[in-house]
Symmetry: D2
Subunit: 305 residues, 4 copies
């Protein structure tokens, strides 16, 4: 179930901050047309941390309906503690998700023993497969490869999504999960070719919202063992990823800059109607959005018909 | 509204992990009898990060009903993004809270501008006063004293609860909020006397669950300017605080150790029925719980009749 | 030996970056006239990290000669590894220092066991008393109070200088070293009164270069138990400490801002000839230096005759 | 000058902690026989932070004499401030080094402007080329790729040694230094093949002390474009790198574990006489050393004749 290109979908919003389901349907269709192999709803890129529960559900319901079983739909169940995650995961199960993606607990100071308890409790209580999501920049804890290996070998987790940016650690995850059947996915936008070369089963790039065709080409080249071609595609995508550096970081934080640029690019391509992000994230300026649009165009990415 | 001793209540649980409302009523009564000046439901000490929304509500409802207006009830509205916090805050408003306590956004990478947006949006949307909660160990961001000062001067926030452990910074918060009418509360268990000497309006000590009489004596001494007496009380309480160091930290994380010891102490005093904490937190061993009980007894804190 | 006000001396430089011994003699005399109880040469404030060995020696030799035994002279022996520290410490011994001040090893990843080894080796090899220097902002490791207590009880260290800014931890150091004979010194500019109230033996404030008379008054008040007077003095000194926030932090780093302001203030008072700091630190602008001078003057600190 | 395999040499010590020049000559010859392309004396692996100046010089002198011009010798000039680095660099120049390797200033809080000043001052004062050394785990500051690019383009630095473990950042360094003539070296033991595939000019692996032949094979394969072969070699070396995880990390810190295992392996292979590391680093236990030796043997690395 967990392989290939699985973009973490942006959640398009109306001017008022409501989920724009028409745009989300369009985005889903755009990604499916590009040949992606799965859809991840409710990741950091999907602004799950900013969305109220009702909006999380609306987004998931919309994507499940639009995907209509063509590819698996993964749903983020991201929250601070086990019981909170469990409630999100059960709703996702009801809404038709095929797997849930879960970080270590955050906000509270826990150690490896509590993290193990967290995943074991979730696995025991859920029917859906659980994907362990390693994103230390947000969780401020790094899932240890040894622990991931153990959880994979006993089937508590079915996959790992590694957004640590640390390929040395990802290699250890690959080694430790070998033979377990658990898939290893990388969240890196710019090292996807190398991760695949090392044995990753799939990639979950936020930039995949903007250029899904590029990541599908990259993945297909790597799957055939043509790493030179994968690298060429990666090089082009890495340049495109420069859009996240357009916003003035003296004015806004890291997440406003990144998600604002993804949405500005999607709006420029005509995929979504409005580039608004959710509070407390701040929008790009008009000038910044125009520069993002220019970068998108110069990367050969025109409006989607 | 914000002054004196305002303990962040533990949330007693049954063996099955449900909110034990009878124990919570007993705890509330115990604190009121000790003369506390406010009650804070849904802080880190209250395991808000581990409690599902329904359990958060049950806890708040129980405390509001038991307090019956004798002292203000503050409710934590702790979540990752503005709209999520807003939903919690509105429920708290409906359930009878007198104020909401809100951290900076977490899990996502934000800067000062997004944090300002967060508090401004919440203030505009809510009728309850907003208390800014600075707890960098959990949020991985420190609320800048200058920003707190600005938000206080324009009445966006009505108080600051400082759990940074950084008294130099707290002094700056006192300076910057001077004249704004905003209260400054410290979350420190062991520097409460000094914080009061510097001008804090109140204290929010987790250990206040275990020995509320001690903290009330400390506060009253300080209020009368008898800092020598306050210091003596503080010295005794600091020794009692050693209960959080009983659990083997090679086995469990920081939060399991701290909350496990508070609950073991409350159970030893007969205030709550069961020392269970919520998943993924791990319990103290029987031996550790016995050592906590012994420390409590040796501090002269007997069973509550 | 370790009590009272022990300022960490700035190292005045000529325009060319050589040690300005005439200015250093003047600074030493200025501090002695103010009644300080010791002199600390070669701390972070003394730019030890920027000074070549020869310049470190020149500074120490100058201060030892000028002090002429009136008060003890402490010498920083700050370096990455044990043998390197040992060489510095032996030179300091030869040059007439009365004690050496030593941090944990840095630049390499060590744990508590190596830190213990470090201090034990130094103590065994030296005749001078060793002061453990806790400055996690620079060393990126916090000396654990329990370890400091053990080292103090067996006389491996003779004092602790705490520049962690963490008064909760300092309280633990006081508790753990009790009865050992080891002195506890705080490096805090703004919590000196509280540290003394809690039992600190002395204070080592960088700002003591600029206003030694103020810190001596603060210390003497606290020694007599007049903490209200100590607090008044502290309040004034905390306002003066605003000079370190004058420099534009978008332009220069933390250390350039702090040391640049100390030296600008000393130059404004006529104590040193030139405000230059050592490479790679960057100077204040003329405008920034003028603003520092104005703050110094408005604090009632005129030129020294 | 900067390409291929450039191992950061361990510094063999006698039982008493003196530099064992006979062993160091043997190690140098062993590496040259394996076909390495350069030698780096005085890196973290060489225990530069633990060696006194005289020992640093002895090590450099020994390697320069043994290499006798066959390959370039790079010398670490690692210290906290510019003038201190300058003194080390000048001594290295006198002793025959071909380049100096320099980190950002550490121990003091500096920003990008001071780091730029640091490298510019060193470049202006030295005749040797300067290699910028990015090792955030030790320096607690990450050299920004944009700054490295600018310094490379104006020839202030001649190469970058990246020991950040962050391949995304390394890719940016490659991009920003393109066309400057500056070489890009990776310090990664386990991602060397990928770094070379991305365009790295060389590799500086600490494990290259133990198995230089392996890294030379890896490099030569990559140079011919045979990345599959490079990857096979890398896989074997990554397994061998498990020796750094043998020591009990509850007992010793990261650096004791890593350097202790390198030296135990070199002693097991008969290259050096004694596995001692320098204070404050702690030795492996006899049992740990035996397990390292067994891992080395099972990797097919026998005694060197």
């Amino acid at each position: 179930m967990f392989h290939g290109v699985i973009p973490p979908l942006c959640t398009p919003l109306t001017e008022d901050g409501e989920v724009d389901t028409a745009s989300l349907e369009r985005l889903t269709g755009f990604l499916l047309d590009a040949g992606v192999h799965g859809l991840f709803v409710g990741g950091s890129t999907g602004e799950i941390a900013q969305l109220a529960d009702g909006d999380r559900d609306t987004a998931l319901r919309t994507v499940v309906a639009t995907a209509a079983g063509q590819v698996p739909v993964l749903a983020g169940a991201i929250d601070t503690g086990t019981r909170r995650v469990l409630e999100h995961a059960r709703r996702a199960q009801t809404l038709g998700a095929d797997a849930v993606v879960v970080t270590a607990p955050f906000y509270v100071g826990v150690g490896d023993a509590e993290v193990r308890e967290h995943y074991e409790t979730l696995h025991a209580a859920l029917e859906l497969p659980v994907v362990a999501y390693d994103i230390p920049s947000n969780v401020h804890y790094k899932l240890p490869p040894a622990l991931l290996g153990e959880l994979a070998q006993v089937k508590v987790i079915s996959a790992v999504k590694d957004s640590s940016g640390d390929l040395e650690s990802f290699q250890k995850v690959l080694d430790r999960t070998e033979g377990s059947g658990a898939a290893c996915l990388t969240g890196s936008e710019t090292l996807a070719d190398l991760a695949l070369e090392r044995g990753a089963d799939g990639i979950v790039p936020g930039l995949g919202n903007v250029d899904p065709h590029g990541y599908v080409r990259l993945y297909e080249a790597a799957r055939k063992g043509d790493f030179a071609a994968a690298r060429e595609e990666q090089r082009r995508l890495a340049a495109l990823f420069g859009i996240i550096e357009v916003a003035d970081r003296g004015r806004v934080g890291r997440m406003s800059a990144a998600l604002g640029s993804f949405k500005a690019a999607l709006a420029a391509r005509g995929v979504i109607a409005c580039a608004r992000t959710q509070e407390p994230l701040l929008p790009l300026t008009l000038d910044e959005a125009a520069r993002v649009a220019a970068l998108v165009e110069s990367a050969g990415l025109g409006p989607v018909s």
